[in-house]
């Protein structure tokens, strides 16, 4: 698609200590109004989360193969039409603009390339560290974009920096906040 606008979306997903956490993904809109998503996630959920569940072929556990990278496998990316009844569609999701106009199409293509590259790195998915939110922000960082979250949305993982040896232009170490000061280790 030839994107005319790209937005960073935040979908409410759960609560930690009474605070709502959000799942981040990107949505591009073309001139016709058609929308597409780009999202990250783990390869799978741990085996226990499939117990007692069925697929069209029967017991879900019969087809289960434990991923090698971690209980969740590696970080993966996927994309497709952003539409009702489709993955990540959330009419209540908050959004923040990332790009618009001529640069949006180029950025969307670059994001697809970076997502592919990140997936090929087989980074173990870590829900307490480098997870889906980190991966979306990392793809943006590797495209030279430091995107702002939608206001008042908490998305764990976004403040983690890039992995060592990642693409040029990305921060080389995590940034830690102490009071109002930002320390770069």
């Amino acid at each position: 698609m030839s994107a005319e606008r790209i937005e960073l979306m935040a979908s409410a997903a759960g609560r930690i200590g009474g605070v709502t956490w959000h799942h981040l993904f990107l949505v591009a809109t073309d001139a016709s109004g058609a929308r597409a998503y780009l999202r990250a996630g783990p390869e799978s959920l741990p085996r226990a989360r499939l117990a007692g569940r069925r697929t069209l072929h029967g017991d879900a556990l019969e087809d289960y193969e434990a991923p090698a990278a971690s209980p969740y496998g590696a970080i993966t990316f996927s994309s497709g039409p952003y539409e009702p009844g489709g993955v990540d569609f959330d009419p209540n999701a908050a959004n923040a603009p990332v790009a618009s106009g001529a640069g949006a199409a180029q950025l969307w293509d670059a994001l697809a390339s970076q997502a592919k590259a990140l997936a090929q790195e087989k980074i173990p998915y870590d829900p307490a560290g480098r997870g889906a939110n980190w991966a979306v922000m990392e793809a943006l960082r590797r495209c030279g974009v430091e995107a702002a979250l939608p206001p008042k949305r908490w998305a764990p993982g976004v403040s983690l920096g890039s992995a060592p040896g990642s693409a040029p232009g990305a921060p080389s170490a995590p940034t830690r906040r102490v009071g109002q000061a930002a320390m770069v280790a």
């Binding site: 979908s11 409410a12 997903a13 759960g14 930690i16 956490w21 959000h22 799942h23 999202r39 990250a40 996630g41 783990p42 799978s44 959920l45 989360r49 499939l50 007692g52 569940r53 069925r54 697929t55 069209l56 879900a60 969740y72 539409e83 009702p84 009844g85 489709g86 993955v87 990540d88 569609f89 959330d90 009419p91 209540n92 998915y125 829900p127 307490a128 997870g131 889906a132 939110n133 998305a155 764990p156 993982g157």
Partner: protein
């Protein structure tokens, strides 16, 4: 109607069961009531169109990834179901 997404591990299985419970041509309201009743968030996305999102509840408060179901119901002017679409994704931070 006791429809529970927690019984299914993929979208085709859930869609088949949902269409069996709420077939095309049947009233859309019971399907919507079932979705809202299980905790789905539903919103109109146009005339006769409703999109719902259901995040599975997990007992473990530390769970930072889980299943999220996305449902779209299209209805005609008589509020009868014209079609449904269901997708499943792992929702994760």
């Amino acid at each position: 109607m006791g429809f529970r997404f927690e019984q299914f591990a993929d979208a085709p299985a859930a869609q088949a069961a949902f269409e069996a419970a709420f077939p095309i041509g049947s009233p859309a309201d019971p399907a919507l009531q079932a979705l809202v009743g299980m905790g789905a968030q539903c919103k109109s996305t146009g005339p006769g169109k409703v999109a719902c999102r259901y995040v599975e509840h997990v007992e473990d408060p530390g769970a930072l990834a889980g299943w999220c179901w996305h449902v779209a119901i299209d209805a005609d002017s008589e509020k009868a179901i014209k079609g449904t679409r269901i997708a499943l994704a792992i929702l994760a931070i």
